[in-house]
């Protein structure tokens, strides 16, 4: 059934042509200098390693962009445009944020605005709010704030700075630095901010420390052997909690959980941080001659402000991979498992989490696709998988019963680019999808009837779709020298399009 929408053989030739988009000429990586380690110079090795980990070349960038195509002059309290789905008169954020890598120019710019003739909009002016991000940003549940981490390592330890930006103004609300003494300068520091209620941001930090730096000559399949640096890396986690009002941290708390996988999955409510974590399998599974079982994934519950878990249960899900979970209307917490199931846990329970499967998603596919989960105002969830070309509405309060199901044509870009392959209208009634593999564009479906209610096509294959807080719809297209943004009404009428010379990986 997954193949219902696939292009036939007759379309193969045309598809081949469509995939050949054009030779890349730009290079976001820039030309920063990183020395090749010398065989015996361990100091140089560490320096090189530090330079590589710190980014700096082709570093991530976060850009605030005013929603000028729909916003009224009083941007902090704009009202939804006609046919948009934000609540009438509701105050909505006037900025959204582009996350990605900068192109040839820095800071990124916007060009070539093409609004309909009836609108006299100015080219939106981007403002860079952060560079050299240590990890992708996080957005608060209400969309009012975005937090991003940066890391600076040095001889005395590591400084982790969390910057919180307001969507209303596009300006920094707070930037607070947490000192991690004793972290070596060549450590790899991975930071994940997790919004917890309205007052706290939990900060989950994976510190990977190298030992035994050396080099060796590594043979490849062809060509000369390469001098290659090597170290043994060991990871542990640190927690801290930022009070958004005071800018003060509680912590850091060293979880003393080495050796762990660096990645965790996480979600928080107003009381607890829920953390999926795992002992590092590579050093836990024994040897070929004497194998040991792969360690289980654990789901830990930390009361906010604490470094000691109040509960630890076995997870029914997969290895943590940097995912963000959900707090459901039932009070349960959940995360996507294997791209097709949900793993659900009842806070306070000492029982393991459980796996919830949906019959509509128990299908096979050659190509993977991104899975998106949206929460509706009534507490139900919309789960979509772009490779399956399917979405289901399920009700957590009714044992995750499937309320309705939707099939849509598989898009050409089911996995690449931004992870957002579907978007949900603010009232939860309409699901926006990428257009079909053959036609591209965007589509809108009424979730109650499954009916296609709107389409837009300009020959472009969009890679991501978002509903902006103002109610308009944003589509992202990858182009040779950056990304193109298309702005639409809720009915997918074009409001305007503009290009940027940054490569957009996600929109917040």
């Amino acid at each position: 059934m997954a193949k219902d929408h696939r292009a036939g053989a007759a379309a193969a030739s045309a598809a081949r042509m469509r995939k050949r988009i054009g030779k890349t000429t730009s290079n976001s990586a820039g030309s920063g200098a990183m020395s090749t380690p010398a065989d015996s110079a361990s100091a140089n090795l560490r320096l090189s390693r530090r330079a590589m980990l710190a980014g700096g070349v082709g570093a991530s960038v976060l850009v605030a962009l005013p929603d000028v195509l729909v916003a009224a002059p009083a941007r902090a309290a704009v009202t939804a445009p006609d046919a948009a789905t934000a609540a009438p008169g509701a105050a909505v954020p006037a900025h959204f944020f582009l996350y990605g890598t900068s192109g040839p120019t820095s800071p990124p710019t916007m060009q070539n605005l093409r609004p309909p003739a009836s609108r006299a909009a100015a080219v939106p002016t981007p403002s860079t709010v952060g560079t050299g991000l240590a990890a992708r940003p996080a957005r608060s549940a209400d969309g009012a704030s975005v937090a991003y981490p940066t890391v600076q390592t040095g001889p005395g330890g590591a400084d982790v700075t969390l910057t919180v930006v307001e969507a209303a103004s596009g300006a920094t609300q707070t930037a607070s630095t947490l000192r991690l003494p004793g972290v070596p300068a060549d450590a790899s520091v991975l930071v994940r901010p997790v919004f917890a209620g309205t007052t706290t941001i939990a900060v989950v930090i994976a510190v990977s420390e190298p030992a035994g730096w050396h080099t060796f000559r590594k043979d490849g399949a062809t060509g000369a052997a390469i001098t290659t640096p090597s170290a043994t890396w060991t990871t542990h986690h640190v927690l801290a909690y930022l009070d958004r009002a005071t800018g003060k941290y509680t912590g850091p708390f060293d979880l003393a959980d080495a050796p762990s996988l660096a990645w965790t999955d996480s979600v928080a409510d107003a009381e607890n941080l829920y953390l999926w974590t795992m002992r590092e399998p590579a050093v836990s599974v024994g040897t070929k001659g004497a194998p040991l079982p792969t360690p289980p994934v654990r789901l830990l519950t930390f009361p906010l402000g604490s470094g000691r878990p109040g509960a630890s249960v076995r997870s029914a899900g997969h290895w943590p991979g940097g995912g963000t979970g959900l707090v459901l209307s039932t009070g349960e917490v959940a995360r996507v498992a294997d791209g097709r199931d949900l793993e659900v846990y009842s806070p306070g329970s000492t029982a393991a989490s459980r796996r919830v499967k949906f019959a509509e998603f128990q299908i096979e596919t050659a190509k993977p696709g991104a899975t998106n989960v949206h929460q509706r105002p009534d507490g139900t969830l919309v789960i979509s998988n772009a490779a399956f070309g399917r979405a289901v509405v399920v009700d957590p309060a009714a044992g995750f019963r499937t309320v309705s199901a939707l099939e849509f044509p598989r898009p050409k870009i089911a996995l690449g680019g931004p992870d957002a392959k579907t978007a949900l209208s603010a009232d939860g009634s309409v699901l926006y999808t990428l257009g079909s593999m053959a036609a591209g564009g965007l589509s809108a479906y009424d979730l109650s009837s499954g009916r296609l209610v709107a389409t837009y096509g300009d020959g472009s294959h969009y890679a991501g779709v978002y509903q902006l807080p103002s109610g308009s719809v944003l589509g992202v297209v990858g182009e040779q020298t950056g990304s193109r943004l298309g702005f639409f009404t809720a009915a997918l009428s074009l409001l305007g399009a503009s290009s940027t010379d940054m490569f957009v990986a996600e929109v917040f």
Partner: protein, 239 residues
């Protein structure tokens, strides 16, 4: 040498894919980090299916597919992805008794960069330095490699060509598609490439675009002057 890659489990495609295409010389399967069922979640069952599918060439290639937006990220994110990938490979290797490392000491460890995904140099270096430098089983068998569409518009394999980039040992090209060929009748070698890097594997059939068969697999062929199976795990016996 031609074979399959798939996001499905091998056991779900044996014998269906073999009935359509014939027996593959290798399978390429996903490992963490990826957003769907990885081989490492039930490695014995999958490896048994590989053996059952073609005991004469039971090779297993390895790829990870992080959330694509992450490939624009930091060195720490690239390293964390590599750590998960290597852990999954080692976990699989130790848990499947007859599964062997390549005899030439070179296991290509592909990271999936889709055509619309931008790859940052920081991410690549975090990934590739960890993979290339990882010591295991008395050597350094893991070799960083990139699945990509070399001519795709956003920054693609231009990053691994950067003078500051960590070594990329192989490219797996998803272009061009040659939808008229089969597993036994592979196209003449015409895979796209990234300057300065050898394309070892060519995905010449994309099931989602080329046709509508009963098999959920894509078709791949190795470089004619190499044997891609030499850079894969292999099974010395039925698990």
């Amino acid at each position: 040498m031609a074979g399959f890659d798939t996001a499905s489990t091998v056991q779900s495609q044996v014998p269906a894919a073999i009935n359509v295409w014939g027996a593959p010389a290798f399978w390429v399967r996903y490992f963490p980090p990826c957003g769907f069922t990885p081989l490492s979640s039930d490695p014995v069952t999958e490896c048994t299916a590989i053996w059952n599918g073609n005991s004469g060439s039971p090779h297993l290639g390895t790829i990870c597919a992080p959330a694509q937006s992450r490939l624009s990220g930091s060195g720490a994110e690239g390293q964390a992805d590599a750590q998960s990938f290597i852990s999954a490979l080692i976990s699989t290797y130790t848990s499947v008794g007859p599964l062997q490392l390549p005899t030439n000491g070179t296991l290509f460890c592909w990271v999936d960069q889709e055509a619309s995904t931008s790859l940052s140099l920081s991410y690549w270096n975090g990934y590739a330095n960890y993979v290339n430098g990882y010591a295991y089983a008395g050597g350094h068998p893991f070799h960083a490699a990139l699945y990509c569409n070399p001519f795709a518009a956003p920054p693609n394999c231009s990053v691994i060509d950067n003078a500051s980039a960590a070594k990329c040992y192989a490219v797996w090209s998803s272009e061009p598609l040659e939808c008229g060929n089969t597993l036994s009748n592979t196209p003449a070698w015409a895979a796209e490439s990234c300057s300065g890097k050898t394309t070892y594997l060519w995905q010449y059939w994309d099931e989602g675009i080329c046709y509508n068969t009963n098999a959920n697999v894509d078709l791949d062929v190795g470089h004619p002057n190499t044997s891609y199976g030499d850079y894969c795990f292999y099974l010395s016996a039925k698990p």
